[in-house]
C-alpha cells in the first residue's frame, strides 16, 4: 500500500483568480451599457411593429450583453493605457483583479453568445448589426483608430450609435430612415461629448499617448469643432419632427434641449486659453449626457403617447 505525502502550499496569487463576479460585471462597462439599453429600447418601441414583451426583453438583453462584451474586449486591449490614466486605472485589468486572458475570453464568449442569442431567438439582421457593432468597437475603434488619429471618437462614435438601429431591426427585421436619424443624433453627439472630456483630461490622454483632438490640434481648434458639432446635433435633433416621425411637443423639447447644447458649447468656445479649471467644458460634458438621455426619453414619450391615446404627433 502506497502512502502519499501531501505538501500543501498557500496560493499567493499566482494561480487561482481573485476576480469576483463584480469585477467581471465591471468589464461590461455598466454605465455605457445603460445608455445602450435605453437607446436600443427606444429604437424598438419607436418601430411600427408590436413586439412580444419576451422577445423584446430577449433582444434588449442580447444587445446589452453584446455591448458589454465589446467593453470587455476594449478593457483587455487597452489595459496598458488604462493603467496610465487616473480615470481608468482602477478598472479590473489594469488594477490586477482580472487577468488579461480572462477579460479576453470573457469578451469573446459573450460576443458570440449575444449575437447567436439575438439571431436565433429574435432576428438575424439585428444580430448581424450587433456583430458588426462589436467588431467596429473592439477592432476598428479600440485597436486601430484610438491610438492612431484624433478622429478616433468621431468615426468610433458609430459603434455607440448603432443600438437604436439594432432595436428597430429586432422589431421589424428591416432598417429605414427613422432609426438612421436616431443613429445620427448619437453619432454627431459623440464628438462634443468626448472632446469636452478630452479638454479637461488632456494631461492624462497625453501621458497615455492617445491622440485626442486637444492633444493634436490644440484646445482652441477643439473648442471650435465642439461648437460646430453642437450646432449640427441641435439641428439633427429636430429632424424627427421635421420629417413627421415625431410631433410638435417633441420638436419643442428638442429645440430647447438643442439650444441648451449650443449654449454650453458657446461657453466652451469662449473659454479662456489659460483656464485651468475648465468649468465650461465640465458643464458641457455633464449637459451632453443629460441631452442624449432627455431627447431619447422625449422621443419615446412621443411615440408611446401617439400609440396609447391615438393623438397624431403627440
Amino acid at each position: 500500500m502506497a502512502f502519499l505525502n501531501r505538501t500543501i502550499l498557500e496560493d499567493r496569487g499566482a494561480g487561482m483568480s481573485e476576480a469576483t463576479a463584480g469585477d467581471f460585471f465591471a468589464l461590461l462597462k455598466p454605465r455605457v451599457m445603460s445608455l445602450v439599453v435605453f437607446t436600443a429600447f427606444v429604437g424598438m418601441v419607436a418601430a411600427p411593429v408590436a413586439v412580444n414583451p419576451f422577445i423584446a426583453l430577449t433582444a434588449i438583453l442580447s444587445i446589452a450583453i453584446g455591448a458589454g462584451a465589446s467593453g470587455a474586449l476594449n478593457m483587455w486591449y487597452d489595459a496598458d493605457i488604462d493603467a496610465l490614466m487616473r480615470r481608468t486605472a482602477s478598472r479590473p485589468v489594469p488594477a490586477g483583479r482580472v487577468k488579461p486572458g480572462e477579460a479576453l475570453a470573457f469578451g469573446l464568449v459573450l460576443s458570440v453568445l449575444s449575437v447567436m442569442a439575438l439571431g436565433f431567438l429574435v432576428d438575424w439582421l439585428a444580430a448581424s448589426l450587433l456583430a458588426f457593432t462589436i467588431f467596429f468597437y473592439a477592432v476598428i475603434y479600440t485597436m486601430w483608430l484610438k491610438r492612431w488619429t484624433p478622429q478616433n471618437i468621431v468615426i468610433g462614435g458609430a459603434a455607440g450609435a448603432f443600438p437604436p438601429v439594432i432595436g428597430w431591426a429586432a422589431a421589424t427585421g428591416s432598417v429605414t430612415l427613422e432609426p438612421v436619424i436616431l443613429f445620427l443624433i448619437i453619432f454627431l453627439w459623440t464628438p462634443p461629448h468626448f472632446w469636452a472630456l478630452a479638454l479637461f483630461k488632456a494631461d492624462e490622454y497625453g501621458r497615455a499617448g492617445i491622440p485626442m483632438m486637444p492633444n493634436v490640434a490644440g484646445a482652441a481648434s477643439t473648442r471650435r469643432q465642439i461648437f460646430a458639432y453642437s450646432v449640427v446635433v441641435a439641428i439633427v435633433g429636430l429632424l424627427p419632427w421635421w420629417l413627421d416621425y415625431a410631433g410638435a411637443p417633441y420638436g419643442a423639447v428638442a429645440a430647447v434641449l438643442g439650444a441648451g447644447f449650443v449654449w454650453y458649447a458657446w461657453k466652451v468656445l469662449r473659454m479662456a486659453d489659460g483656464d485651468r479649471e475648465m468649468r465650461p467644458a465640465k458643464l458641457l460634458f455633464a449637459y451632453s449626457l443629460l441631452y442624449l438621455f432627455a431627447i431619447f426619453a422625449v422621443y419615446l414619450a412621443d411615440t408611446v403617447a401617439e400609440r396609447a391615446f391615438g393623438l397624431p404627433g403627440v
Binding site: A2, F3, L4, N5, R6, T7, I8, L9, E10, D11, R12, G13, G15, M16, S17, E18, A19, T20, A21, G22, F24, F25, N52, F54, I55, L57, T58, L61, A117, L121, V122
Partner: protein, 51 residues
C-alpha cells in the same frame, strides 16, 4: 511519493464562490429566456408537435 497541492487563500475561495453563483444565475436566466421565447414563437404548437 510526495505530491504538492495548492491551498486557495480565503480571498480566492470567496471570489470563486461569487463567480460560481453568478455563472449559475446566468445559466438559469439563459434557460428561462430560451424556454420563454420558444413558447412565444411556437405558441400552442409547442405541445402539439409529433415526435
Amino acid at each position: 511519493m510526495e505530491i504538492e497541492t495548492v491551498k486557495p487563500t480565503e480571498a480566492q475561495l470567496k471570489a470563486r464562490r461569487s463567480r460560481s453563483v453568478a455563472i449559475a444565475l446566468a445559466l438559469v436566466a439563459f434557460v428561462v429566456v430560451v424556454y420563454a421565447v420558444s413558447v412565444v414563437r411556437m405558441g400552442p404548437a409547442v405541445i402539439e408537435r409529433s415526435f
